[in-house]
Every structure is written in C-alpha cells, then in structure tokens.
C-alpha cells in the first residue's frame, strides 16, 4: 500500500492532465456576463447547430472585454458578440469607421468582423414619460432649457469623456446637477421622482419595464455601439459554413427586437437560451436542432466539474505546497521569501489573477486550476512550516544524534510529527478551493460558478442559489472528507502522547 501510493499519485496527475486536454474539436462561442451578450451568443450558437455540421461549446460568463478578447486572440474562444464602440475604444484605441475597424482587426489580430446585426446599444438619456411630456422634452437639446432637473447617473458615465462631461459641452448644458447612483437604484429613483434624468443603454430591457422614454441624441454625441460578431480567421478557414450563418444574421435585430429580448430575460425571467430559440424560429424559421439540457443535468455537470476542479487543484497544491513548506523550514531566508510570495498571491484579486492566466494558458480548466492551486498554497505551506517548527528540538537532536541522515530524519521523524498540522492545512485549502472554484466560471472553466454568475447577471436569486447552495454543501462534505482521510493517515501514536 505504501509503495503503491506514489504510483497512484502519478496516475492521478497524468489522468488529470489528460482530462484537461481531451476537449473535442468544436466551435467555442463566448460572451461576457451581460444578458444581451448571452442572448447574442445563443443566437449564433443555435443557428450554427441548426445549419452546419459543427458542434458548439458555450462559454457565456467570461469576465469582461479584455478577458474575452484575450481568449479570442489566444484561440481558446472562436467567436463572441461585440460592439463597434467597444472595439474602437477598448481594443483599437481609435475613432474609426466601420470599414476602418474591420480592416484594422483583420490586419492586427487576424480577426474577422461580421456585418452589423442591426441595433445600436449606445448610451441614451431616459426620463419618466409623464415628466418628459409635461416639460415638452423630446430631444437632449431640450434639456438646456431645464437646468433645474436632477440627474442620477452611473459612476462610469459621470467620468467618461464620452459620458456626462462631453455631453455637457456638446449640448451646452453647463454643469448639470448630477449624483452618481448604481444603475438599478437610479431606475427606482427615477420612477419615484427623486431624480428626473438618468443614463441608460438603449436596448436595456428595464426601460420597457418602467415605461421610461429615451431622448433623441439630435447632435449625434454618443458613439455607436453597433453589435456584431468577432470570429477568428483560422476558425472561418476550418469551418467555412460559418460565413453563411453570419450572413443570415446580418441586419436581423433592430433596437426594438433586442430591447424586447433583453426584457424577456431580465424581467420575465426566461432563459437566454429560450429567447434566442424563439427569435430564430420567428425570424429565420429555424427549429431547434437540439433540445436544451434540463436544469438538473446542467447542474450535475457543473457539480462534477466543480469537484474535478477542486480535487485536481488540491492535489497540486499539496504536491507543491508541502515541499515549499519543507524548504521554508530548512532555510530561514528562503522561508521568509516563500511565505511572502505565497501570502502575496493570496491577496491578488481573483479576476486579476485570472486575466494574467489567459496569455499563458488560454481559458478553460487549465488556467482555472493554476489559479486555484496558487490560492490554495498558503495554508499548506504555512502549516507545513508550522508543523515542522513545533517539533521539540530534543527530538531533532535525537534523530540526528543517533545517526539518521537528513533525508531519513525528514521522512521518518519530522514529516510524520508535522503531519497533523499539514493535514489541517490541507483541510483549510480544500475548503478554500471549493469556494474559489466558483470564480473559475469567469474564465470558462464551468462549475457551480456558472449558475452563480448567471444568477447575479440576470438578478435571478433562484439560479444563484442553485449554484451557491450545492457549493456550500460541497464545502462541508469536502471538509469532512479531508478530515476523515486525515484520521486514516494520521500516525496512531500521536493520539496517545
């Protein structure tokens, strides 16, 4: 049994690597975490499934523009929906026409920019219909005559040059009376009359819910945020039928259609998946090629993936953490350096750490596991160090004095005596891994975090709990499991001293 243990560990390591690389060749469609992005990703994915022989893998919870664009460049993602304004400002840092954007993306990144889908999801200003009618305001330029109105705007809009400061100059509004408010609070404040004007996105489903009117941008101040798909050139070469799919979708979604679809997800609580299917059925007469998975089977898949992520990460955290702890105990200088690095890793925000992983490992399970291992190191290294340090010096003298080599003293005396501490560290690390693995969804690794992120994005507590409750239960089970495993491994004599 003792001799079999290293072989079993090696087999587990090899298997876990094999698992990580065994993804079948499919088109990976991604999106950011917003409702609109998820609907557009579903529209593209379902039309591919209906009209081409390709399989589709969805990664619809990626954490932000830079992250998902990095993933596209590195080839971890084949396509995702994006906006002209975002490409211009965030990726190309220019002010280009559509043709300019298309040429620049092709030249610089080898990425194909599809035709526009039709709608423009830009900034708009929203007011209560009643207030706007009473004051006779229809266009933004009408606001210049009403400096007494109270504005409530998102912090981002308050500061961006293409937000409030630019708007005030372009329309000669002077300095408006503005407070910064989180978006959903701003809508409530507007509905109750605490503010009279707020910024919004033109296709936001909430506008329909509250019945707000939007003001015409008569001086064309706001840049266009016209939706389209970005697709890797290499993907188009390998899967040429995608061109037909993109062509079929061009110009099919106007502002009103997109707003209605967003509202159905955000307000009526339909899934992006159903909304996309209905759109394709009505507009392109497409019947679904594949029935949507039941929630239960998706949950089971997420749970299994979560367990896999946790277990593989924990395994590697132990394989790296224990030797690092031994090294730290052996040399005071190295010990301080190791503890500093491992401690600092713990403080790196998870989203930043994940973003750093993408150029190195792409997206998916591998970078998520690497991040989880880095987060799991601290308790194991610290406890290994503490466990080795608490051994009474006379026992270390005894081991050395009777003639054990340093290696024998470590394997036969020091590590067994430190084992209860090391196991406590592994237990802490295991619980951290279960919790941290929920963020792995941000990088396309799946797991229960998919449900939690979707629940947060769609403001849907039921979906959120569907991820959060199993994650919490899993943490309890893993804690108990590692504890019991520890009792089996723990040297017997230590309970009697």
């Amino acid at each position: 049994m003792r001799r079999a243990l290293p072989a079993v560990l090696i087999a587990l390591v090899v298997l876990s690597f094999a698992r990580l690389h065994a993804a079948p060749p499919t088109i990976v469609i991604a999106s950011k975490q917003d409702t609109e992005g998820q609907i557009l990703a579903e529209v593209f994915a379902q039309l591919i499934e209906a009209r081409t022989p390709y399989a589709v893998e969805r990664k619809t919870n990626l954490g932000g523009t830079l992250l998902v664009f990095q993933a596209l460049r590195s080839g971890s993602v084949d396509a995702y929906p994006e906006y002209t304004g975002t490409i211009d400002a965030t990726i190309l840092h220019g002010t280009l026409s559509f043709d300019g954007i298309r040429a620049a993306m092709e030249q610089r990144y080898g990425i194909f920019v599809s035709d526009e889908l039709g709608f423009n999801n830009t900034y708009v200003l929203a007011m209560k219909a009643e207030t706007a009618r009473q004051l006779g305001i229809r266009r933004i330029s009408d606001l210049a005559a009403h400096p007494d109105l109270r504005w409530g705007v998102t912090p981002e809009f308050l500061r961006r040059s293409d937000g409030l400061p630019g708007l005030e100059r372009a329309y000669g509004l002077g300095t408006v009376d503005a407070v910064d408010l989180e978006k959903s609070l701003a809508y409530q404040a507007l509905a109750r009359g605490a503010i009279q004007v707020t910024d919004a996105y033109s296709t936001d489903g909430q506008l329909l819910r509250y019945g707000f009117v939007t003001l015409q941008d008569d001086r064309h101040f706001f840049p266009g945020y016209r939706a389209l798909y970005l697709v890797r050139d290499g993907t188009l070469r390998a899967a040429p039928d995608l061109r037909g799919v993109l062509h079929a979708l061009a110009g099919t979604i106007d502002d009103r259609t997109m707003t209605a679809m967003n509202a159905r997800v955000d307000i009526a609580r339909e899934s992006p998946d159903e909304v996309a299917a209905q759109f394709l059925a009505q507009r392109l007469h497409v019947t679904r090629a594949r029935a949507a998975d039941s929630t239960f089977s998706r949950l089971m898949r997420a749970l299994l993936r979560h367990i896999e992520l946790t277990f593989v990460a924990l395994l590697f955290a132990v394989l790296f953490g224990v030797p690092l702890g031994i090294l730290a105990a052996a040399h005071a200088g190295a010990g301080r350096a190791i503890m500093k690095v491992v401690g600092t890793l713990q403080t790196v925000p998870s989203i930043a750490l994940l973003a750093l992983m993408i150029p190195l490992f792409g997206i998916g399970v591998l970078p998520a596991v690497v991040a989880l291992v880095l987060y799991g190191l601290l308790p194991i290294v610290a406890n290994t160090l503490a466990g080795l340090r608490q051994i009474p010096s006379e026992l270390l003298d005894a081991a050395e004095g009777i003639g054990l080599s340093p290696r024998q003293a470590l394997a036969w005396v020091r590590l067994p005596l430190a084992l209860p501490f090391i196991l406590a560290g592994v237990r802490t690390s295991a619980v951290i891994a279960v919790g941290t693995a929920t963020i792995a969804a941000l990088i396309g690794a799946g797991g229960l975090g998919d449900f939690i992120l979707t629940g947060l994005t769609l403001n849907d507590p039921a979906t959120l709990l569907l991820g959060a409750v199993p994650a919490a239960l899993l943490a309890i089970v893993v804690d108990e499991l590692v504890y019991r495993l520890g009792l089996l491994v723990r040297p017997r004599g230590l309970d009697r001293a």
Binding site: E394, L395, D397, A398, A399, E400, G401, I402, G403, L404, S405, Q408, W412, V413, P416, L417, L419, P491, R492, G493, L494, D495, R496, A497
Partner: protein
C-alpha cells in the same frame, strides 16, 4: 589502556559565551566517566562534541583513534549509542520501531530488526512492550526504551545526557541500580552527564567536575569525596554528612 574518546584542547563558544574552554580529557576504553557540573557548566556541550552535534571552534575530538572532523559523521554517530533525557522517543512510532530505527537506516530485514529489538528490550526488562506507543509508557519505561534504542547496534561507546534527570526519585534509584547491573554485563565505554552528585558518586568509575566551561577536577569517587576541589561538590558532601549525623 588506550583512550576511547580524547578531547584535545577543545574550545566551543556560543556567541560571547564560552561553553568549553581548552578542555583536554581522555575517556579510557571501557570506563564509565561521569561529567558533573551545574547548568551552564559546559558538560552537555562536551558530550555533544563527541557525536558531532557541536563542532569545536578550536582543538579536536578523537574517537577510537580517529579525529572526528575528517570522518563520515553519520557513520560515526551510528557507532555511538546516544541516550537523552526523557528518552527522546518518536511519538508516532511503536516501541519496536523506535528501538529498531537504526536497523531500518542500515537496511536490516524487518525480521532481523524485530528479533534484535526484542533482544535489547529484554535486556532493559521490557520484553513485551514492542507494540506499544511511547505515549502509553511511564517515564521510567520510556527511559529504558531510550537505552534499548542506543544498544540496538551494539556500539562500543555510549553517550548518556542526564538520562535519569526527569524521573521521580524512586524510579531514578531503580534505574540507576539496573543501569549499574547492565554496565557490568556490557563493558562499554560510557560518557555520562549529570548534575546529580549522588548519581555521579554511585555510578562513575571516574568523575570529571566542570564549571564555567573548564575541567576543574578529575578523580575517582573515593578521591573526590576526600578532596573536593569545588564548592559545588564540597557543599553537597557537607550536607550529606550532616544528614547522616
């Protein structure tokens, strides 16, 4: 008689503190030399110089004719039995595993290890204690196991660092008696460190009195009783005389 252990001008400092100052001393083959002194006298440092747990800053230690500075320290330590206060047993190992650990280090077959462990455990009067854990033993039993472990490889030299100091007086007397009997059977060279004058007088062939890192007196017990050169010994002897009267 040749010297089994020879200290030649050994000096050892810990920072500003001189633990040993220019100590020259021979431990004869087969004798039991007791090193006595109060805390901080350097007696334990002297013993730890023999199995190279401490390396002298000046002078040298010669064991069985070989200066230890040039030799393989792990091989040297395995030729020297080492017993410390409270036994120094490893709590996670059974008595048998503790006693047989040097056999494991030397690659002895498990059956041979078990047989030899049983043999030395019988020598110290703990024949059936092999499967127990140190946590299940009394202080005296742990100390006997410590001695058994030191005897495993049948070393010619044994170092004993206050082996009985942590025991209650009655158990200590029992173990001293037994140790004296054991010594007659084994005839090994022993360097025995203690702060207990009574123990030194009872067990030692010769007694080396240390204070402040220096060797002050080296006598047989009988001579020491006649001419105690240090206050430490003299005061103890006076007190004992008063008790007898």
């Amino acid at each position: 008689m040749s010297a089994a252990i020879r200290f030649e001008g050994v000096t050892k400092r810990f920072g500003a503190l001189a633990a040993l100052q220019d100590v020259t001393l021979d431990v004869e083959d087969g004798e039991l030399l007791v090193v006595i002194g109060r805390s901080g006298s350097g007696k334990t440092t002297l013993l730890r110089c023999v199995n190279a747990l401490e390396i002298p800053d000046a002078g040298r230690v010669v064991v069985e004719g070989q200066p230890i500075s040039g030799s393989d320290l792990i091989a040297l330590r395995r030729r020297i039995g080492y017993v410390i206060q409270s036994g120094g047993l490893f709590a996670h190992m059974t008595v048998e595993q503790n006693v047989g650990i040097l056999g494991r280090a030397a690659g002895d077959a498990p059956a041979r290890r078990a047989a030899r462990a049983a043999e030395v455990l019988a020598t110290v009067g703990l024949a059936d204690f092999g499967p127990r854990y140190p946590g299940e033993l009394s202080g005296g039993q742990r100390q006997r196991v410590g001695i058994a472990r030191a005897l495993y490889a049948d070393p010619q030299i044994m170092l004993l660092d206050e082996p009985f100091a942590a025991l209650d007086p009655v158990t200590r007397m029992e173990l001293q008696d037994e140790f004296k009997r054991l010594r007659r059977e084994l005839r090994k060279t022993m360097l025995f460190v203690t702060h207990d004058v009574e123990e030194a007088l009872y067990l030692g062939d010769r007694i080396a009195v240390f204070d402040g890192g220096s060797l002050l007196q080296l006598e047989t017990p009988a001579e020491l009783k006649q001419h105690p050169a240090t206050d430490y010994i003299a005061r103890f002897l006076r007190r004992r005389e008063q008790d007898m009267q």
